[in-house]
């Protein structure tokens, strides 16, 4: 046990914690003013329900030794999860590791809300988050971090490209397709970009805790992660804006913020295994491909991924997973592996397997969960509620009041 690491991880946990309200604000600013509270609520409620779920059973399913597919029930209700270090780090309390991971579990679910904004029933989404967290998040987290089969296979995912970003992005996409388009999808513009800017800034801030904290100690790898995260986000902005400027002759603020997030998503799986120079490249390409996903792919395929949960997290996470297979080098982290550009094709192959399996698993289970819920609670709100706005119809509130 080392107190310094505990302080570090307490800080990192708090930083990641802040990303969830950050997402709520980031998303909230992008919807119409009649839906901002509902949207924020979607991202906020996981702080309540998933947190409780996590201590009750989620953590055990994800991290307790079990089999290669799912954790066991040993740590249900935090049994044996106390101050003594757990198997994942000798230097911090087990309960602290559990809380650090709780913030990831919460955040992942709150990202999904971007795909379903402005048309999903609140109660349906609430139920969905619980089931999804158990049936999708827990296994995928277990595969990668809990000693499951992807870990055994030797794929690399430093801070959660697969577990957090691909899984939430794909889930958002599946739900978006199942729900169908918003009635006013073609016509919508962010009602409050400063709010989105603020949210995006909190997200970026927290991401340093997300990535650097994933080292679980402040060592050489952690410091490299810190540098990589900083430059990849910066490069993501530049990548996005260049492509945006080429396409539209404008560099937008929403683009800059989105680019930062794209860069951050892209570097997430790779950050502990690549050099800063590679990180810049990964970030620039991350920004560019996410713009492409949001702009071109979405238009082309016609789904209404309202706030681009898939466009940023799914696509960025996919690129990040691939990039790890290309740019990883053991010179940076001896627990890592060499990627294609360092002479080894193996890793890229494993990364692709991990990505593809995650896509399929998440898509299928998300679909089933949503279909089952739909038997009891319709997923989509009524047309009238949608046009009146979900804040008023589902929550009985309006975000803004003027004098009259």
């Amino acid at each position: 046990m080392q107190m310094t690491d505990s302080v570090f991880m307490f800080l990192a946990t708090m930083m990641v914690w802040l990303m969830t309200p950050g997402i709520a604000l980031f998303y909230g600013g992008m919807v119409k003013s009649k839906n901002v509270l509902n949207t924020a609520m979607h991202s906020y409620m996981p702080l309540a329900v998933i947190s409780i779920l996590w201590v009750l059973i989620g953590y055990s399913l994800s991290f307790s030794p079990g089999n290669t597919l799912l954790g066991g029930l040993d740590w249900v209700g935090l049994k044996d999860v106390g101050f003594a270090p757990g198997p994942y780090s000798e230097t911090i309390p087990h309960s602290l590791f559990m809380l650090f991971q709780m913030t990831f579990a919460v955040l992942t679910v709150s990202i999904i809300a971007g795909g379903i904004a402005e048309r999903m029933k609140f109660s349906a989404f609430l139920i969905f988050t619980i089931l999804w967290s158990l049936f999708v998040y827990a296994p995928v987290a277990h595969w990668v971090w809990g000693g499951g089969w992807l870990a055994e296979l030797g794929t690399l995912d430093f801070a959660g490209g697969n577990v957090v970003h691909i899984s939430s992005g794909v889930a958002g996409l599946v739900l978006a397709i199942m729900l169908g388009k918003r009635k006013e999808s073609g016509d919508s513009a962010p009602h409050n970009l400063p709010l989105t800017f603020l949210g995006g800034s909190l997200i970026w801030f927290g991401w340093y805790g997300f990535n650097v904290g994933s080292a679980l100690t402040i060592n050489e790898v952690a410091m490299n992660v810190f540098v990589n995260t900083a430059v990849a986000a910066a490069a993501g902005i530049i990548g996005w804006l260049i492509v945006e400027y080429m396409a539209n002759k404008k560099a937008t603020l929403l683009g800059a913020v989105s680019g930062a997030i794209s860069g951050l998503v892209a570097i997430t799986p790779a950050c502990g295994f690549v050099t800063p120079a590679s990180s810049i490249i990964i970030g620039v390409i991350g920004g560019a491909v996410c713009f492409w996903g949001v702009f071109f792919l979405k238009n082309k395929l016609g789904y209404d991924d309202a706030l681009d949960a898939f466009g940023l997290h799914g696509i960025g996470g996919t690129w990040g997973g691939i990039a790890t297979g290309l740019f990883a080098t053991t010179s940076v982290n001896e627990n890592g592996a060499n990627g294609l550009f360092y002479g080894d094709f193996n890793l890229l192959w494993k990364q692709l397997v991990a990505i593809i399996v995650t896509y399929i698993f998440v898509a299928v289970v998300t679909y089933i969960v949503a279909k089952v819920i739909n038997l009891f609670v319709p997923l989509r709100v009524s047309e009238e509620d949608e046009s009146m706005g979900l804040d008023l119809t589902l929550h009985g509130e309006k975000a803004y009041h003027e004098s009259i």
């Binding site: 006013e184 016509d187 046009s387 009146m388 008023l392 119809t393 009985g396 509130e397 009259i404």
Partner: protein
Amino acid sequence: MSEVLTKIEIITRPIKFEQFKAELAKIGVSGMTVSEVKGTGLQKSYVETYRGRNREMSLHDRMKIEIVVCEVPVQDVVDVARKFLSTGKPGDGKIFIYELANVVNIRTGKEGHDALKNDL
């Protein structure tokens, strides 16, 4: 001058304005003024709740579109509006029609009928 100047004021729910504008452009309407208003009428009221306290509110978001025409027949505008805006549900709104005494174009200084002509 036998011209008649008429203001057509449409009160309706928030709509896709650019599409509506395109419809009106077809019949020759080029200028219009739009504002956000609240309205109460047939549409049923709703309840807001803050920290447990309920308030019944009957003001709905509405859009007011003002169009002054001279050459374009008023009936045409009414027809286009009804076609585009009517959903058959309470809240579709009303069209109020007024007569104007005069119009002045600030830039050109032209009055009446000429003030509405779009010459640059």
